[in-house]
């Protein structure tokens, strides 16, 4: 079962990376850029009987390790058609 975790900084936490990238893009002439934030993408393939069970496991992984919940929020999405890129 393939899922995808999107990890973002909590609202209010300074996005050091995003601010720098935004400045850089503006410098490259992207005047139409309004906002940019950088987060993490984690793609996971987990053994589970049902989509619900898979999601629950991944949620556990997020709480235990993947997300730093002091700084970050996360959302979990199913990856349907797409395949995980082979290593």
């Amino acid at each position: 079962m393939k899922l995808r975790v999107l990890i973002r900084l909590k609202p209010g936490i300074l996005d050091v990376q995003g601010a720098a990238v935004q400045r850089a893009l503006a410098g490259l002439g992207f005047a139409d850029l309004r906002d940019l934030r950088v987060g993490k993408l984690i793609e996971i393939d987990v053994d589970a009987a049902t989509p619900g069970a898979a999601r629950q496991r991944v949620d556990e992984m997020c709480r235990k390790l993947l997300a730093n919940t002091i700084l970050e929020d996360y959302t979990i999405e199913a990856i349907e058609a797409e395949r995980l890129a082979p290593r």
């Binding site: 209010g12 050091v16 730093n68 002091i70 700084l71």
Partner: protein, 758 residues
């Protein structure tokens, strides 16, 4: 705006950490009830963290005068003259609480904060040292903390571009729930170009420079003044995030702005942010200040005056410029792509006036804010101390095999190599580092002169626990001795006082005694304290019902841990000392007295799991003479190595001499063979710890000269053996008591800490 603000009441004041008395005092000073914003100002500025309420009376005991002192306590950092027109600016600070909550960002922003303290003085930071204390590294949670803290320091220091050249990491269970992250920074500045944090010159513009303000760390200062408890989670402010890149720009821009001569005063926005700067700067300058908060660059929408004043967003400065030169300043900051916005003016009054969209939200005499109440609570020694001291270590069994005991000690995480940490730190950027981490003190050259500086940090919580006064004095002596072993003449001390809650009499007693010990040692060694930091409330409140073995109040304080940083100067950078044996066939001497003790020693902890006993005697006059003898010997090029005897005693000092040079010597250690004096039990002789002792090695050809110098120095000393071979061999009373391969010692030492981190 005002409509949404909470009503100011005593309860609200209490919730912000003020006492009923303090609240009354505020009303008295103002002659009215404070507004919500004003209450916020007071709560931050009168917090322990900003106001040193419980410590101020004690700190005044520290000696702060010396002919070479350029700036003592009271500014962002202290400064001493090192000759040839140069000064070094330095200071140490703690970031213990934030590092426990978020180790990576907590430690990173700790580095950021101390760097700003240095470059606001006009100095370019040239060295960072980190002094860390954790619980058992075998514990998963602790390992996570160590990893986070070390990588946070590594990230911030490396990205900013200041080398981390030294520090220490020590472990004890008492730090498990409250690790210590103390960071020292040293900067270099022309002695006549030091900038101060003063708002002077009525009508001068006040600029805000650096990162935009968000809701980060509001009430960080009050948090640093609270014990960790179950509610810590709930009270957690938005965590501050470090931005070393912006800090680097801020450094370059500030130094460039200062070089124009248009900067009148400057202070970094650290704890309590804008509130702190806008009151402390005019207070120092004897002026007032008016600011308009809506001009402050903001990262978030709808920030209230209260939030804008108390935000602890990082990488920001408040700068007072010279009137008429605003554009010059703006140009410099624009070049470095930084916000520089005029938010107010220096005024002739003595008040801080804060407006938000034109409306006055605070109007307070600056002196009322900076003149917080001080307390002189009663204190006294804890009841359990006598019992701890009474244990006689010599009633414990001797080791069966002294060689094995030595190997175990060398592999104890506190003594073992910390290369795992410092190889993650850039140690050389700036190309000044003559002695890298791995010797008693780091040495940095001062380009354009023949001089160098030596820097070391030290502090033994165990020793201070057993005897706060002597233990703290010993910490000063050890840090200074490390500097002397490198050939440096100590010029100044910075201290970071990490203790539990000062509201408990026994903790306050530890603190008061430790201050007294530091003061005595500094006077004897003739080094002033140029500044420092106090971190109280380093405690973990345990689950209800559980009490620590030595405290009836239900809380566990850390070991009382003053960390001492010493900076010294070498007149000739080519005459410096390092701790490792250089070659075979050199004579080994032990300088200093015989007085050692197993009380509070690493040996007693590692082999017997005990923290007990009494410390060795400390004779400050002997300490002073030993250090000056070592400096003379290093300065004359008479010794090829000089190594301070610290944790683990004489045996560990020799073993370190044998193995720590492997990196510099091209991969091989140098063994030794020594004979120790009978008279004490062997474990005490080999592993007992005591002050004022140094091991040196001397080329046989220089032996006579060395002996003459020692005779002149009037210190106790003797030859104890010779370097060489691939083993470390100790004779006592006519038999061999230790005979271990250097390889084995080295392996234990290299892996003792690192294996936990793998």
């Amino acid at each position: 705006m005002a409509g949404t603000e909470p009503k100011v009441t005593l309860d609200l004041a209490r919730g912000l950490g003020l006492t009923a008395d303090e609240y009354d005092r505020i009303i008295q000073r103002l002659g009215r009830e404070p507004s919500y914003t004003e209450l916020g100002l007071f709560s931050a500025l009168w917090s322990e963290h900003c106001a040193y309420k419980h410590s101020r009376v004690f700190l005044s005991r520290l000696p702060t005068r010396a002919p070479h002192l350029l700036q003592g306590p009271g500014e962002n950092a202290g400064a001493v003259d090192i000759g040839d027109g140069w000064a070094v600016v330095f200071k140490m600070e703690s970031h213990n609480h934030p590092s426990f909550i978020e180790p990576f960002q907590g430690a990173a922003t700790g580095v950021g904060g101390i760097l700003r303290d240095i470059f606001t003085m006009g100095a370019r930071p040239i060295a960072i040292l980190d002094s860390l204390r954790f619980g058992d590294p075998a514990d998963a949670k602790t390992k996570h903390l160590i990893n986070g803290v070390v990588s946070g320091i590594s990230w911030y220091g490396n990205c900013f571009g200041c080398p981390t050249v030294g520090g220490e990491i020590a472990f004890a269970p008492e730090y498990a729930g409250n690790p210590l992250v103390n960071v020292m920074c040293v900067g270099l500045v022309r002695a006549d170009r030091i900038h101060l944090a003063r708002a002077e010159g009525v009508g001068n513009p006040v600029f805000y420079v650096g990162n935009k303000t968000g809701r980060d760390g509001i009430h960080g200062a009050t948090m640093a003044s609270a014990t960790f408890d179950d509610e810590a989670e709930a009270k957690r402010p938005t965590v501050q995030v470090g931005d070393p890149f912006t800090e680097k720009l801020l450094l370059e821009a500030c130094l460039e702005a200062m070089a124009t001569g248009a900067v009148v005063g400057i202070q970094d926005m650290g704890a309590a942010g804008l509130a702190c700067c806008t009151s402390e700067m005019p207070a120092r300058g004897g002026t007032g200040m008016e600011v308009e908060l809506s001009a402050v660059p903001q990262r978030e929408e709808g920030m209230t005056p209260y939030e804008l004043l108390l935000s602890e967003s990082q990488e920001r400065m408040l700068l007072v410029g010279a009137k008429g030169r605003e554009d010059e300043l703006r140009r410099v900051f624009a070049k470095w792509e930084l916000d520089a916005v005029k938010i107010g003016e220096v005024t002739g009054g003595a008040d801080l006036v804060v407006r938000h969209r034109g409306e006055e939200v605070a109007h307070v005499p600056v002196e009322a804010l900076t003149d917080a109440p001080t307390y002189e609570k009663s204190y006294g020694p804890p009841a359990w101390l006598a019992e701890r001291q009474a244990l006689e270590p010599l009633c414990l069994p001797e080791p069966d095999d002294y060689g094995e005991a030595l190997v175990r000690l060398m592999g104890s995480p506190t003594i073992a190599s910390k290369e795992w940490a410092y190889r993650q730190y850039d140690q050389q950027v700036g190309t000044n580092t003559l002695v890298l981490p791995g010797s008693d003190a780091a040495v940095l050259r001062i380009k354009g002169t023949r001089r160098a500086i030596a820097i070391s940090t030290d502090g033994s919580g165990r020793q201070v626990f057993l005897d706060p006064r002597r233990g703290a004095a010993m910490a000063v002596c050890e840090a200074a001795r490390n500097v002397s072993c490198a050939g440096g003449r100590p010029l100044g001390v910075t201290d970071c006082m990490n203790f539990g809650s000062p509201e408990r009499p026994e903790i306050l007693w530890q603190f008061a005694e430790a201050i007294e010990g530091i003061a005595e040692a500094c006077r004897a060694l003739e080094v002033p304290v140029v500044g420092g930091n106090v971190s109280f409330y380093n405690e973990t409140v345990q689950a209800k019902g559980a009490t620590s073995p030595w405290d009836s109040s239900g809380g566990t304080a850390i070991l009382p841990t003053p960390i001492i940083g010493v900076v010294g100067v070498l007149e000739d950078a080519s005459r410096l000392g390092t701790q490792w044996f250089k070659a075979a066939g050199q004579r080994i001497a032990l300088l200093g007295p015989d007085g050692v003790s197993l009380g509070g020693s690493e040996y007693l902890w590692t082999l017997h799991d005990r923290l007990a006993g009494r410390l060795a005697p400390l004779d400050l006059e002997v300490e002073r003479r030993v250090q000056s003898a070592v400096r003379a010997a290093v300065g004359a090029g008479l010794v090829t190595a000089a190594h301070d005897c610290a944790e683990g005693g004489l045996a560990v000092t020799l073993a370190e001499g044998a193995v720590t040079g492997a990196r510099a010597n091209g991969g091989v250690g140098v063994g030794c063979e020594v004979t120790v004096e009978p008279g004490r039990r062997l474990d005490e002789t080999l592993f007992g710890e005591g002050p004022s002792r140094v091991v040196v090695t001397v080329e046989p050809a220089r032996q006579r000269e060395f002996e003459a110098l020692m005779a002149e120095s009037a210190i106790p000393w003797r030859w104890i053996g010779t370097t060489g071979g691939e083993r470390l061999i100790v004779h006592a009373s006519g038999r061999v008591v230790v005979d271990v391969a250097v390889d084995r010692i080295e392996h234990a030492w290299r892996s003792g800490f690192e294996r936990h981190m793998a």
